[in-house]
Symmetry: C2
Subunit: 311 residues, 2 copies
């Protein structure tokens, strides 16, 4: 793939200017990856803010205007809204256009988009493994994808040139690009992302239901472990509702495995099986070391949280 | 309490120079809280390292030497080793000496220490809510306790002057000090600390048991949520084994609540109850905001993890 010699995309439309969409807009401009960047958002407040931030060449609420003469459309709306967004854009797409997305679920997203696309329009679904717990156009930044992975899940038979275009865009924004089937993506993300979010939401919910006095102490003494969970449990509720509704089977399968392991662990606690506990707690250290070694995590203590200066 | 007018402790012995013990040594010296700091550790490698670091005035492997003429002994060994450490020191303590600790469990620790203490020696158990996932004398730093909480759980009838001495030490190291019963401490910490660690160890363990190909992908794509859990699952295995063995009832009770909530959440996923999911995911955001507002967490995205520069 001669990604280096590839010129910029003529007209790139980004639909939904949240954390991810606005980061793509910023990165595409910063790295010269698109001649014209069109921001499409149905929310007037978001459009106003995008205008103020000056991160797109055109800002519109009209899907037809967004689609018109566009080479690549990236749908950056919650998974549950992707089908409707595709349906609005599709009739206005020119032959040879490419539709992509950034949804955290891929099987359901392909099923939601594909029926709407006219002949001659390619679908190259994508999922950048990057983000923060913040939302909206102000939360984005141009280097969000640097050194992160982006997974593409093009259906069989997709035009290789379309895949290359999307791959080059992500590579240009600093991401490592990998291709796999939508099914496999959904299985892997169920354990790396969806189950962790479910567990985090759950334990924070459990704490939220404690007696009031205890709850205030949970907040006070949260530095002892709990606060790590609250970060991902502060992620966008609509986005996460849609993910669970659209990757139900894989999430429930991983949850089943998690529950089996938790029962065994609870049994070791109940019966005072110190050897089993120690063996398990030793094994889990290695995984973090691998993640740090792969450059997907900081080695600094406490995630590198700011600490009081040493003076 | 005239903490400000209190002079330094004459002789402070720290038993176990790990993350917490070595941080106390550094902070006590930095803030002038003890005239003489004695480091007691049974591990010759740790003693050598403490000598090299120069963070104590005397370094010894002999509990009798550590206890001799000492005003305050702080036991900073894993909870399961505290009873034995107390038994070794106790016969050599002078009347008026104070014994404290930093264990994450308090009921079992009081029960393990108290029988060994001679008359005239006060027990003021403590638990600083501070730490990182790293271990050993090199991991400590003088500002670890700044702005963090330290919980004291003196048994009823403890000499108030002894409590004041321990309180003043922690306040001098920058901690906010709170007093409560050992039982209440163990109940609150079960939800803020022990259950989160159990859950984190468990999900990392579940991932570690996946088919090998999937496991390498879990590591690769961990930035999507999983990696947040690996930090606390990389904590010291011996310390955590001892915590679960010594706070079994409270941990199992909180785990019961967690499991009830998880069943309800799994049901909402299975039946596609988007409203219930959205409501729950909205509620959990508020808790993080409270933790940030209380100064117990950073508001920076991604915990303030280092990110690629904006250029």
């Amino acid at each position: 793939m001669p990604e280096e010699s590839r010129g910029p995309i003529d007209r790139l439309a980004i639909v939904g200017l949240g954390l991810i969409g606005s980061s793509i807009a910023r990165a595409a401009r910063r790295y010269g990856l698109a001649r014209t960047i069109v921001a499409v958002d149905r929310d007037p407040a978001v459009r106003d803010r995008v205008q103020e931030l000056g991160i797109a060449d055109h800002v519109t609420g009209d899907p037809a205007e967004g689609a018109s003469d566009t080479d690549l459309v990236i749908l950056c709306v919650p998974v549950g809204a992707i089908g409707a967004a595709a349906a609005e854009m599709a009739p206005h797409l020119k032959p040879g256009a490419i539709v992509s997305d950034v949804g955290s679920v891929k099987g359901a997203v392909v099923a939601a988009i594909q029926p709407h696309l006219p002949d001659g329009v390619a679908l190259v679904p994508g999922h950048p493994i990057a983000g923060t717990e913040f939302s909206g156009p102000d939360a984005g930044f141009a280097t969000l994808f640097q050194g992160r992975w982006c997974i593409l899940t093009p259906p069989e038979g997709t035009d290789p040139a379309a895949i290359d275009t999307v791959r080059a865009l992500w590579a240009g924004m600093g991401a490592n690009v990998e291709t796999m089937s939508a099914d496999h993506h959904d299985h892997v993300l169920a354990i790396t992302s969806h189950l962790p979010h479910l567990i985090a939401y759950n334990i924070v919910g459990t704490a939220a239901e404690l007696e009031e006095a205890t709850q205030s102490e949970v907040i006070k003494f949260s530095a002892s472990g709990f606060r790590d969970f609250t970060r991902i449990a502060a992620s966008d509720p609509t986005m996460w509702r849609d993910i669970f509704l659209n990757n139900r089977d894989a999430v429930l399968e991983m949850l089943g495995r998690f529950n089996e392991d938790l029962s065994a662990l609870a049994k070791a606690v109940r019966w005072g099986d110190g050897e089993a506990l120690h063996a398990m707690f030793t094994r889990t250290r290695a995984i973090r070391r691998s993640i740090v070694a792969l450059g997907q995590e900081t080695a600094a203590p406490d995630f590198g949280r700011p600490r009081p200066p040493e003076e």
